[in-house]
C-alpha cells in the first residue's frame, strides 16, 4: 500500500552535502506493522518524512496505493496527509490547547459539525484510555499520556497509515510497553498500517511484522522480523543486531585477558542460533551422550519475537577433536545455525 521506489534524499547546505537516504526501495503492506530500525543518524527520520513528503525526496517515487504522491502538488498532498497520521518522539502537542482541542485540531478543518466532532473525539479518547483527561492541558500529563493524546490526534481523520518516529524513545520501559500494546491493539482493531521508526531493538521485536534495517542511508536488510533476528544475511545487519543486544557485550570480552572467552587450550567457541521448539540445554546434553563432547555455556539468551522463541548460545566445546567435529555436524543437522567464533 505504501511503496517507496528508489528514494534518495540529499541535503545540501552550503558546501556540505549529506546523503541522508540512498536509493531505498521498500513496501509497507496493508494492515501490517512495519519497522525501520537503525542507529541514530542512519536516515530513518528522513526516510519516514519522505513517506508523507514532509521531506521531498531528491530522487525516487512514493506511492500510496495507486497514487504517486511525489507527483502531487502541495494542495493535493495536504489532503493526502490527512489520511496519514504521524506521531513523534516529543509528542508535539499544542501546549495552549486542551487534550480535547488537540484532538479536534485536524478534525475542525474537515468541516464536520461540532456535535459530531465532540462524539468522535470522546470516542478516540476512550480508545486511548484518556476519556477523563479531555479538559486537561498537555503540561498536566505524563509522557505516556501525552503520546496517547498524540495517537488520538493522529487517528482523528481515520487514516489508513500511522507513521511513528521514535514514538517510544522518550518513554520509560514500562510506559513504552503500554504504548506498544496500544499500537498493536489499534492495528488489529482499525486495520491500519503502522510504520515504526526506532533505534530500540525491543520495539521491533515486540510489535513489528516485518522490518528494514537502515545503516548510513541504505536499507541493508528487509524481511520478516523473525528471519531478521534468526538469520541476518547482511554483515552490517548482524553488526547492528549484535551491538544492540547482549551478545555485543559478550563479544567484547573476547579481547579481555582472563575472561571466560580467553582460551589457550586449542578448543573453540561456537555460536549457536536455534529457532522454534528445540532447546539449547537438551541439545548440549545430547551431544554429551552421543559424542562425549562437553559444552561449557559462556553465553545464553532466549528472545521471544512475536511469541516465537529464538535462542542464542555461545559454547566452548571440549572433547576429542574428531568427536567435536561430529558433534558440530550433529548440531547443524538439527537445523541450528552454527558459527565458530574463536
Amino acid at each position: 500500500m505504501i511503496r517507496l521506489d528508489h528514494i534518495t534524499k540529499t541535503f545540501t547546505d552550503g558546501r556540505r552535502t549529506v546523503h541522508a537516504v540512498k536509493d531505498v526501495s521498500l513496501e509497507v503492506r496493508d494492515g501490517e506493522i512495519f519497522g525501520i530500525i537503525g542507529f541514530s543518524g542512519a536516515g530513518k527520520s528522513t526516510l519516514v518524512r519522505c513517506i508523507n513528503l514532509l521531506e521531498r525526496p531528491t530522487a525516487g517515487k512514493v506511492f500510496l496505493d495507486d497514487t504517486e504522491l511525489t507527483a502531487l502538488d502541495d494542495a493535493a498532498l495536504r489532503k493526502v496527509r490527512q489520511g496519514m497520521g504521524m506521531i513523534f518522539q516529543h509528542f508535539n502537542l499544542m501546549p495552549s490547547r486542551t487534550v480535547f482541542e488537540n484532538v479536534d485540531l485536524p478534525l475542525k478543518r474537515t468541516g464536520m459539525p461540532k456535535d459530531q466532532r465532540r462524539e468522535k473525539i470522546m470516542e478516540l479518547l476512550e480508545m486511548v484510555g484518556l476519556s477523563d483527561k479531555s479538559q486537561a492541558y498537555p503540561s498536566e500529563l505524563s509522557g505516556g499520556q501525552k503520546q496517547r493524546v498524540a495517537i488520538a490526534r493522529a487517528l482523528s481523520c481515520d487514516p489508513k497509515v500511522l507513521l511513528c518516529d521514535e514514538a517510544t524513545s522518550a518513554l520509560d520501559p514500562q510506559t513504552t510497553q503500554q504504548i506498544l500494546k496500544l499500537l498493536k491493539e489499534l492495528n488489529a482493531k482499525l486495520k491500519i498500517s503502522i510504520v515504526v521508526i526506532t533505534h530500540q531493538m525491543s520495539v521491533v521485536k515486540a510489535i513489528c511484522d516485518r522490518a528494514a534495517v537502515m545503516e548510513q542511508g541504505r536499507v541493508t536488510e528487509c524481511g520478516s522480523v523473525y528471519d531478521l533476528f534468526a538469520d541476518p544475511r547482511d554483515e552490517s545487519t548482524r553488526h547492528f543486531l549484535e551491538m544492540a543486544s547482549n551478545v555485543g557485550s559478550f563479544l567484547e570480552t573476547f579481547d579481555v585477558p582472563g575472561s571466560l572467552a580467553d582460551l589457550h587450550d586449542g578448543t573453540h567457541i561456537w555460536f549457536l542460533v536455534y529457532t522454534g521448539e528445540s532447546t539449547g540445554e537438551a541439545l548440549m546434553s545430547r551431544i554429551y551422550q552421543l559424542f562425549k563432547v562437553e559444552a561449557n555455556i559462556l553465553y545464553g539468551d532466549i528472545d521471544y519475537i512475536k511469541g516465537r522463541p529464538l535462542g542464542k548460545l555461545a559454547v566452548n566445546l571440549r572433547g576429542d577433536p574428531a568427536d567435536v567435529e561430529k558433534a558440530v555436524q550433529y548440531i547443524k543437522d538439527q537445523g541450528v545455525k552454527t558459527e565458530m567464533l574463536k
Binding site: 514532509l54 495536504r78 508535539n92 502537542l93 501546549p95 498537555p138 498536566e140 490526534r153
Partner: protein, 226 residues
C-alpha cells in the same frame, strides 16, 4: 479635592483644558499608530520566519529585503527618521506635520523593533509543533494562525508590552514635529515655562498608562499560559 489639587499643582487649573487635549492626542497616537504598527510588525515578523531558509515557505529574495530594511530603518535615530519621512507622510496621509503627520514616523519607528521581537518569539516556538501541523496537512496560512500565532500568544503579549514602553517614549518625541501629546505638553510647560508640577503630572499619567497596559498584558499572559 479641588483645593488639594490646587495646592500640590498650582499650575494645573489654567492648563487643565490643554492638558486634557494633549492627553487625548497621545491616546490617538497610541491607538492609531500603535495598532497599525502592531499588525505590520506581526506581519513582518511572520514573513521573516516563513521565508527564511529553514522556514515553511523559503523565499530568499523576500527574506533578504525585509531583513535588510529592518536593519537600515532601525539604525536611523527616531528624531532623524521623523524628518526623513516627512515626504512619505505627505504622500500617505497628506501632511508631514501635526498629529496626523506623526503616524507614519511612529509606525516606521516601531515596526522594525517589534518585528524583530516577533521574529524571535516565533523562532523560539518548538519546531515540532509546526512539523506536527504539516503532517496533519495544514496549509502555510493555517500554520501561521493556528500554530505560530496561537501558540505564541503569551510571548507576543510579553514583547508587545516591552515595545509599548518604548513606543510611548517615541510618541513624546513626536511632539517635536507638532504632533502634540504629553511630550509636547511637558516640553512647553515643564521645560520652557519651568512648571515642575506639570512635569510630575505628565510623568504620573504616563506611568499610570503603562501600568494599566501591563496589568492587562499580564492578565492575558496568565490566562493563556498552561
Amino acid at each position: 479635592m479641588t483645593d488639594f489639587i490646587n495646592t500640590i499643582m498650582p499650575n494645573f487649573e489654567p492648563l487643565k483644558g490643554e492638558f486634557w487635549e494633549c492627553f487625548v492626542q497621545t491616546l490617538i497616537m497610541i491607538g492609531v499608530s500603535g495598532t497599525i504598527a502592531w499588525f505590520l510588525g506581526v506581519a513582518l515578523g511572520v514573513t521573516l520566519v516563513l521565508t527564511r531558509k529553514t522556514g515553511i515557505t523559503p523565499h530568499p529574495l523576500i527574506f533578504t529585503c525585509c531583513d535588510r530594511s529592518i536593519d537600515v530603518i532601525r539604525s536611523v535615530p527616531f528624531i532623524i527618521l521623523m524628518v526623513l519621512l516627512i515626504p512619505l507622510s505627505r504622500l500617505i496621509v497628506g501632511t508631514g506635520s501635526g498629529l496626523a503627520g506623526s503616524f507614519v514616523a511612529l509606525v516606521f519607528g516601531t515596526v522594525p523593533f517589534f518585528a524583530r521581537q516577533i521574529e524571535q518569539v516565533l523562532s523560539d516556538l518548538d519546531p515540532g509543533l509546526v512539523e506536527a501541523a504539516q503532517a496533519m496537512g495544514f496549509s502555510p496560512r493555517e500554520i501561521v494562525f493556528s500554530v505560530y500565532l496561537k501558540e505564541s500568544i503569551p510571548a507576543i503579549t510579553r514583547v508587545t508590552m516591552i515595545t509599548f514602553v518604548s513606543f510611548v517614549g517615541i510618541t513624546a518625541i513626536a511632539g517635536a514635529i507638532g504632533a502634540g501629546g504629553l511630550g509636547d505638553f511637558a516640553i512647553r510647560y515643564g521645560y520652557q515655562m519651568g512648571y515642575r508640577d506639570m512635569i510630575w503630572l505628565t510623568v504620573a499619567v504616563i506611568l499610570i498608562m503603562i501600568s494599566i497596559f501591563q496589568f492587562f498584558g499580564n492578565l492575558l499572559i496568565k490566562k493563556t499560559t498552561h
